[in-house]
Assembly symmetry: C2
Homo-oligomer: 142 residues x 2
């Protein structure tokens, strides 16, 4: 069954991990698992503290060239009647400071115990979601 926009948004926000797809200038998609906070039609994704390599920053350079992104939350089950997923499509903006950045940081600290000791202090990707979609093989599993 297809889920409503509202239900998709609500359940997406409860998950702990999503996969972020960005696209480079050659049309090559790039995928990475991300932690996030979702509120309203915004998804905030921190950029981690680890030593940066060009590799690690690919998601940022991709967004600079093309802001279109997609995020997916899903759960696999050997019983395929229990499968479900939720997708959020939108446009991303990378922020380094300011009120929107602070709000995102606070939401991330609320969600992940790991951030209580060491809150996000660098870039945060803010996605403005245009479309929420969700699907489950059977009835709404929640």
């Amino acid at each position: 069954m297809r889920w409503s926009r509202e239900r998709s948004r609500e359940l997406f926000a409860r998950s702990s991990v999503a996969r972020l797809a960005t696209v480079d200038g050659e049309g090559q998609p790039h995928l990475v698992p991300v932690v996030f906070a979702a509120y309203g039609d915004t998804i905030a994704i921190p950029v981690d503290h680890k030593p940066k390599t060009t590799y690690r920053l690919r998601r940022l350079s991709n967004i600079e060239g093309n802001p279109r992104v997609s995020l997916l939350v899903d759960e696999y089950d050997g019983d395929w009647d229990h499968l479900w997923w939720i997708r959020a499509d939108g446009e991303a903006l990378v922020q380094h400071s300011g009120p929107a950045w602070e709000r995102a940081r606070d939401r991330l600290v609320e969600r992940y115990p790991r951030y209580r000791d060491e809150p996000p202090s660098e870039a945060i990707i803010l996605v403005d979601v245009h479309r929420w979609s969700g699907w489950s093989a059977g009835e709404d599993p929640f």
Copy 2:
């Protein structure tokens, strides 16, 4: 730590679910969870039997316009020292019959009990992987 190409390929093949990213003509990425079989540098992804909608076939029309795809396998853990992921980047081709299609179908039937009663009979996406990459926060967790 970064994993070797060989180790990434080996561990990818053991997972039950991956996320497939394709890209449309506007540069918008599209994400969907998929079952698959991986052997050598090939990943085979069945297209399911369910009633088709334009929506459901988006991955196929995207591949027709742009064969570049990315697949991700990952596992989330509340303890971030246990995080890991594996990514496969490559080019996709949609097949409907022939020896490569049959080999892919047989591999899928081997992997998923659900396919024993009802083997894939329609399109199968065959991805030729150019790059395997894997990462874990700590040591190789397997």
